[in-house]
Symmetry: C2
Subunit: 415 residues, 2 copies
C-alpha cells in the first residue's frame, strides 16, 4: 500500500465534503488503486474553530498556509479556500515546490488559468480543477478526454445554480424576484451577498474556464458584456410561458470563422430544448461539436459532496500519474488566438416584453405598430420576434417601441 500525503487549504463546505468522501471511499480506493491518502495538514482561517466533522482520523489544522505548501512531505495540495490573490500566491508556491495542485476556485482559474497551467507544465506537476465548473458534473474531464478528438463549435449552459433557482421559483411559485431570492437565501442556495451569482459574474468565470478547454481560448472578462437576472420581471416570466418559452440564466459561446461569440445572461428557451427542464440549483452544459452533434451533461451544480466528488476525481487522476511517475498532464489545450464578440452581434431571434404595456395597443404609435407587426408575433403585451434580427434592427425596434412604453426587455431565443 502506497501512502500519498495530501495538504488542504480550506475546510469549509467543499473541504469538509472532501474529508467525508475520503473517509467513505477509503476501502474502495485502497482496493482499486493500492493507495492510502494521508491528509497531513489543513490550513484554515480559524484553526481552533470546532468543526463538526464525522472523521475518525486525527486531523492537523494550522492557521498558516505556508505550513502546508512548504511541507516537503506533501505531494498534492487541494485548494478549497477561495480568495483570488492569496490562493494564486499559494498555488504558485506549491507548484514551484513541486506539488501537484487541485483547486475548486473558479475565479482564480478564470483569471489566471493559463498562467498556472504554464507554470504547472514548466514544473512537471499536475493542475486540475474539475470542481470549478458545474460542481459535480464531470464536464471538464469530458471536454478534455472525450471531446478533444472532435471540433467543438458551441456550448450553452446553465452554470449558476442560484440564478437558476431564483428564475425557476419565479415561474413555479409565481413569486417576485425579491421573494424568490429570499427563499434561495433561506435554503442556503444564495449567499447573504449574492451579487456574484445574480449579476452573472460567477457564470462568466465558468464560461471562461469552459472556453479555455473547449476552444483553447481564455475569455477577456473585462470586455465581456454580461447581464444579470435582477432585471427579469414576473411579467417577463409569464409572458414567456404564454409563448411556450422559459427564461433561463445562460452562458453561451459559439465559434464561427475564428471569432468566439459569447453571451452571459437570461435567454428565452423553447420547451423542447433540454435546458428548459433544468430547474432549481441543477446545472447543465450542452456541447455542440462536428462529429457528435449535441451532447448534454447535467447534475448538481454545487453542494458539499457533489463538488467534493469532482475534487476526488482530480485526486485520483493525479494519484495515477504519481504512481506511474508521469505527472504533468493537467487540463489544457493549445491556446488559439481567436477574436471575441457578443453573441448579440449575430442575427438572433428575440422574445421581448413591454413592461408598462397594459395590452392597449394604442400606446404604440400606428407607424411603430406597423413596423412591429412586420417583425414580431404580437401576443398581448408579449412579442416574440420570429424573424432574425441584426443588432441594428434590434436597436431600431427598441427605440420604435420606447415611445409607447417605459421598458423593453429583450431575450435571445434558444430553440
Amino acid at each position: 500500500m502506497t501512502t500519498i500525503s495530501v495538504g488542504m487549504l480550506g475546510c469549509g463546505t467543499v473541504g469538509s465534503g472532501v474529508l467525508t468522501l475520503l473517509n467513505r471511499g477509503d476501502n474502495q480506493i485502497s482496493e482499486s488503486l493500492g493507495v492510502h491518502f494521508n491528509i497531513k495538514k489543513i490550513a484554515v482561517k480559524h484553526p481552533d474553530k470546532k468543526r463538526g466533522l464525522n472523521i475518525t482520523k486525527d486531523l492537523s489544522f494550522t492557521g498558516e498556509i505556508e505550513n502546508v505548501i512548504n511541507d516537503p512531505s506533501i505531494q498534492i495540495v487541494i485548494e478549497v479556500m477561495g480568495t483570488l490573490d492569496q490562493a494564486y500566491k499559494a498555488i504558485q508556491q506549491a507548484i514551484t515546490n513541486g506539488k501537484s495542485v487541485i483547486t475548486a476556485n473558479k475565479e482564480l482559474i478564470a483569471l489566471k488559468g493559463p498562467q498556472l497551467t504554464k507554470l504547472a507544465h514548466d514544473y512537471h506537476v499536475d493542475l486540475y480543477y474539475e470542481a470549478s465548473v458545474a460542481g459535480g458534473i464531470p464536464i471538464l474531464r469530458v471536454l478534455n478526454e472525450s471531446l478533444i478528438t472532435d471540433q467543438i463549435t458551441g456550448l450553452t449552459g446553465i452554470v449558476n445554480g442560484t440564478s437558476n433557482f431564483v428564475l425557476s421559483a419565479m415561474k413555479t411559485d409565481h413569486s417576485s424576484y425579491e421573494e424568490s431570492l429570499k427563499q434561495a437565501q433561506s435554503l442556503g442556495y444564495a449567499e447573504a451577498n449574492p451579487i456574484k451569482d445574480i449579476e452573472g459574474i460567477d457564470a462568466a468565470y465558468k464560461l471562461s474556464i469552459l472556453s479555455q478547454l473547449a476552444f483553447g481560448h481564455s475569455i477577456n472578462l473585462k470586455q465581456l458584456k454580461r447581464k444579470g437576472i435582477e432585471g427579469v420581471t414576473s411579467n417577463d416570466i409569464n409572458g414567456a410561458e404564454v409563448l411556450g418559452l422559459t427564461i433561463k440564466p445562460a452562458v453561451i459561446a459559439r465559434q464561427k470563422d475564428h471569432e468566439l461569440f459569447t453571451l452571459v445572461g437570461p435567454v428565452a428557451v423553447y420547451k423542447q430544448n433540454p435546458l428548459a427542464n433544468v430547474n432549481g440549483v441543477e446545472n447543465s452544459v450542452l456541447v455542440t461539436s462536428t462529429a457528435l452533434g449535441t451532447t448534454s451533461y447535467s447534475g448538481p451544480g454545487a453542494g458539499s459532496e457533489p463538488t467534493a466528488n469532482s475534487v476526488m476525481s482530480d485526486l485520483l487522476a493525479v494519484t495515477k500519474h504519481i504512481l506511474l511517475e508521469q505527472i504533468g498532464t493537467s487540463f489544457n489545450k493549445t491556446t488559439d488566438d481567436i477574436g471575441e464578440s457578443s453573441l448579440m452581434n449575430l442575427p438572433l431571434t428575440y422574445f421581448l416584453t413591454l413592461n408598462s404595456f397594459t395590452g392597449d395597443e394604442a400606446k404604440i404609435s400606428p407607424e411603430n405598430y406597423e413596423f412591429l407587426k412586420q417583425v414580431v408575433k404580437v401576443n398581448h403585451a408579449y412579442f416574440c420576434v420570429t424573424k432574425l434580427l441584426t443588432k441594428e434592427q434590434k436597436n431600431e425596434l427598441t427605440s420604435a417601441l420606447a415611445n409607447g412604453v417605459t421598458e423593453v426587455h429583450f431575450y435571445p431565443i434558444l430553440k
Copy 2:
C-alpha cells in the same frame, strides 16, 4: 513526431467514421500529442469492394483478419466489424500478441468483457470500448474516471435508439407500431431485421456493460427477464399521455443490500423526468450515486461519426499510455459478487391499460372494480396505480382485471 501503427478490423459505418475523424483531426492530434496515426491494414469481408471514403491516404485492405492481428508492427487494433466468435478470437489473439485493443462490439463485451479485461491485464495491454454503449456519449469514461470515487446506487437509461425512435414516432405522429418501425427502417434507424433492437437484446447488452463498470457486476443475460417494445400499442401510448406519462424503452439497474435489481423494457415516465424528453434516436443515461445524487448524460446513441468519436477518445487514451510506457489500464472495476433479481420484485407503481376495455366499467365485475378503486386512479380505460404494488398485488390485480378484459399491459412508472 511519433508514428503509431494502427490496424482495423471492419470498415463499415463505424470504421469509415474513424477514418474520416482521423483525417479531419490529424493536425489537431499531431499538434497536441506529437503523434501521427498510420492506419496500416484494414481487414474487411470484401477487400475489393469500392468504398466511397474521402480519405487522401493510401489504405491497405485485406480479406484476412490474421494479416492485421499478427502484424508485429501494429500496436493498436480497432475492432469495428461486429460478430461474436470471430471478434472474440481475433481480439484474444491481438492481446496475446501484445496489442492494445479498442472495440465497439457490445455483444462481445457484454458476454466476454470480464474475460477479455483479465486477458488484457495479464498481457499488460489496454482494452477500451467506449463506443459499445450509447454511441457518442462518453458514459463509460465518466463511470470509470469521475464516478469511480463515488458509490453508484442506480442507473436508468434509454440506450437503444431504434426502440426510442419507434415509440417517439408512435407518440408524435400517432402512428401504429408497424408504421413507425417501417419509418425507422426507411430512415436507416432500424435494420431490415430489427429483432435485437426491438426485443431489448441490444439494450440488455448495454445494461450489462454499464453494470460491469458501475457495480463491478456482469449481468447474467441468460437469466435476465427483458421485454421488447413489440407489445406497446397506440392505446398504451395515448393512455399514458392522458395521465402525463410517456412510454420509453428503458434499462434500469438498482443496487440494494447486495442485490442488483434490473429491468429491460418499456416504462412509463413522468414529464418531469429528464428521460421523458429524450426523443428519436437520442440516448441518455441517468446515474444515481451517493455523493452526486443524479447526474445525466445525453447525446447521439449511434451513427458513423458519433460512434467513431468514442473510438477516437479510446485511441487517444491508449496512445497516451503508449507514449508514457504505461499500458494496461483498461476500463475495469473489481468484480463484486452480488445477487440479481428483477426490478419488478421491488414495490413499484404501475401504469396499466386494458386493451379491449371500452370505458364501460361494467365489464369489470363489481368486486374487482372495488378492489381496483382501492389501488388505482381510474381514468377511462387507463389506470394509474398510485399505491406501491408488490409483485403479489400486481398478479392479483392482473387476474382480477382479466375477467373483464382481454389484455392488461403493465408499465412500471418512473418519477
